[in-house]
């Protein structure tokens, strides 16, 4: 089932005592989520991603705009009529019911002709539990389960009535790092097996990048960029998106362009045909640095961190906006830790220019991947 959001807007009335300023949690969000895909809504806290999820679920009503599931307009339907499964951030498992009773709960709500015989309900619950691999835990209570197991139960409960759309609100934020890695693969597998259109919300860009078919980057209620994770990473439309995606984060310098040449400090680092003269923000991905004896960019070397297959150089540069500049180079390249300065060439595909005023991307020849 594809999900179409049309000019979706949610405005919360201001409640401040002095300034009754209305807050736009989601502003004019239009997007079409293709059928059977896994979509990551990504953004920092308070960017409106959870509100978007609640609007899709029907728990909140949009101020304006429409929501379609397939061809059907569901904007005015209450949540229970939309056929969605929702997994809450803290799972919201009923603590006094066993795992089995929790999974059965949505099925027991069916009334009239939808009502299922008991045996059929148990069968469906069993099926859902097998899908998330918790069939051995059916008699336990949520309090007796680990975080990861609770997460699976919550997903099973959302899946048991075979929803048209599955919504996950920060599904991994309550898990420890190892479990997070495991569970996100699990979510990917379950989504592939069931083919249910799935939308999940996260503030962790790595999480979103690793499992989503498409990501939507949001900031202060506005959609910044949508697309395949790698495409958004390689071709950010503005400084915010560039800084938000990627670990370690992108290095940002204040530079200027003069006569189609890009200067960082006094170093002329790159030819940037097509960009007008003036001050710009220069974003350079950590993997965009190539150490080179007579390279054009000079940085002071502060330290070297060897992490398995990669080597991370910790550097300093006067015009860097980040406290340190990080460059990641292949682990097999020899690095002399005693040198004071390192010189680099920059890979033009890993360098992004942004307007100083609007922070919008400035394209130059060879800047697109």
């Amino acid at each position: 089932m594809k999900v179409v959001l049309q000019n979706l807007t949610k405005v919360f009335p201001g409640r401040g005592r002095r300034a009754k300023k209305a807050v736009t949690a989601v502003g004019d969000f239009s997007y079409e989520i293709p059928d059977g895909k896994l979509i990551g809504l990504l953004g920092p806290s308070g960017c409106g991603k959870s509100t978007t999820l609640h609007l899709i679920s029907g728990l909140q009503k949009p101020t304006s705009g429409r929501i379609f599931f397939g061809e059907e307009d569901v904007t005015d339907l209450p949540p229970e009529k939309r056929g969605i499964g929702l997994v809450f951030q803290n799972y919201a498992l009923y603590p006094h019911l066993t795992v089995e009773q929790n999974i059965l709960f949505p099925l027991q709500n069916f009334k009239g002709k939808d009502k299922l015989p008991k045996a059929r309900m148990l069968e469906k619950a069993e099926e859902a539990s097998r899908l998330v691999q918790i069939e051995d835990l059916m008699d336990r209570r949520p309090g007796e389960l680990s975080g990861g197991q609770q997460q699976r139960v919550a997903i099973a409960r959302a899946l048991v009535k075979m929803p048209k759309v599955l919504l996950l609100d920060e599904p991994l934020s309550n898990l420890d790092a190892r479990l997070r890695l495991q569970t996100r693969e699990e979510i990917r597998r379950i989504q592939r097996e069931t083919g249910i259109t799935t939308i999940f919300v996260t503030h962790d860009q790595e999480e979103a990048m690793s499992i989503s078919d498409q990501i939507v980057v949001m900031k202060e209620g506005n959609v910044q960029q949508t697309g395949k994770p790698q495409e958004v990473y390689d071709d950010p439309v503005n400084l915010f998106v560039a800084r938000f995606l990627g670990t370690p984060p992108i290095n940002v310098f204040v530079g200027h362009v003069q006569g189609s040449r890009l200067y960082i400090g006094a170093d002329a680092v790159l030819g940037v045909a097509g960009v007008p003269d003036g001050e710009v923000y220069v974003g350079v991905r950590p993997e965009g640095f190539v150490p080179c004896k007579d390279g054009s960019l000079t940085c002071d070397l502060k330290g070297v961190e060897v992490m398995g297959r990669d080597t991370s150089l910790v550097l300093a540069n006067e015009v860097s906006l980040n406290p340190v500049v990080r460059a990641i180079i292949g682990g097999d390249e020899p690095v002399d830790e005693k040198v004071q300065t390192v010189r680099f060439e920059l890979k033009s595909g890993k360098v992004f220019l942004f307007d100083r005023e609007t922070e919008k991307r400035l394209y130059f020849e060879g800047s697109r991947p």
Partner: protein
């Protein structure tokens, strides 16, 4: 041993505990033991501090005293009627309070007022409502007249009328605390459970029975246990309504009986009072144990 006692600064700990131990010992532990001893001393004379012998005569006397039996009966009727009734009504009111937005604070204060009102003041209000005077038959009788009924003498009339007044009074007095506890219990149920239930299309009745009630059941259970204990201890309320000569009014309670045996007009029998107190203790203990047993089976998360 002695050396360690000082070395470990153990005496400091005891020093800090001293005020509490002293007070509890003098006013709680010693009287408890004393009551137990009194209750077995036959023919104790408080003036001469002498007694004839040791035995169970005091218990036998109390258990055969029609006033005591009347008091037990009154207390049990009071407990059985008011505890479920007050808890049930408090739950309904709390649910109402929890689901309204405007004037919530106002209603909460109104419902809480009886809790901070003086017992005797409430007694006076009930007098105005129920008591027959030279000028009027009381407000409630006015209402009964208005609907075409015959007036009832609530304060000095038939037994059920007096019991009715006592029950209404007790329910009304114990309700504020229960409402306070239950509204906070309801408010502390995580909203996400309700959201989850809504997404799954759960009917409001099912949400109440399958989610709300189990979630607040520990609090309800607590209220029932303290409600039982509180109702068994009823005394001041009865005095406020029916005066101090409770045996004559036929409205005595167990605590009232104990008090009368000690200091009342027919008093001066600490042995009988002690025996009655021990009997009250045994009854409350039994009922609380039964409550706990039932509660443990029902509330298990």
């Amino acid at each position: 041993m002695r050396k360690r006692f000082f070395h470990d600064n153990g005496w400091k700990g005891w020093l800090y505990l001293l005020p509490a131990i002293l007070f509890l010992g003098v006013f709680l532990v010693y009287p408890l033991i004393d009551v137990w001893i009194y209750s077995f001393e036959e023919g104790y004379n408080s003036a001469a501090q002498t007694y004839f012998g040791i035995g169970s005569y005091n218990y036998s006397y109390v258990l055969h005293d029609p006033y005591f039996l009347q008091a037990v009966k009154n207390t049990f009727i009071l407990v059985v009627i008011t505890v479920p009734l007050s808890t049930g009504i408090a739950l309904l009111i709390s649910l109402g309070l929890n689901s309204i937005r405007p004037l919530k604070g106002l209603f909460q204060s109104v419902f809480f007022l009886p809790y901070v009102t003086n017992t005797l003041a409430i007694g006076l209000v009930f007098m105005i409502l129920f008591k027959k005077t030279a000028y009027s038959d009381g407000m409630v009788n006015l209402l009964i007249h208005w609907f075409g009924g015959n007036s009832v003498d609530f304060m000095e009339g038939p037994y059920w009328a007096k019991m009715f007044v006592l029950c209404v009074y007790t329910v009304w007095v114990v309700m504020p605390f229960k409402i306070l506890i239950l509204t906070s219990a309801l408010a502390s149920v995580n909203q996400e459970y309700y959201n989850a239930a809504r997404v799954d299309g759960t009917s409001s009745f099912r949400i109440f029975t399958r989610i709300t009630l189990p979630m607040i059941s520990p609090m309800i259970f607590y209220l029932v246990i303290t409600g039982f204990i509180g109702a068994f201890k009823a005394y001041s309320d009865v005095v406020a309504l029916f005066g101090t000569n409770l045996n004559a009014a036929g409205m005595n309670t167990m605590v009232g009986y104990i008090y009368d045996m000690l200091y009342g007009d027919s008093g001066g029998y600490p042995s009988y009072a002690s025996a009655a107190a021990i009997l009250l203790f045994v009854i409350v203990l039994t009922i609380t144990c039964i409550n706990l047993l039932i509660g443990r089976r029902k509330i298990d998360y």
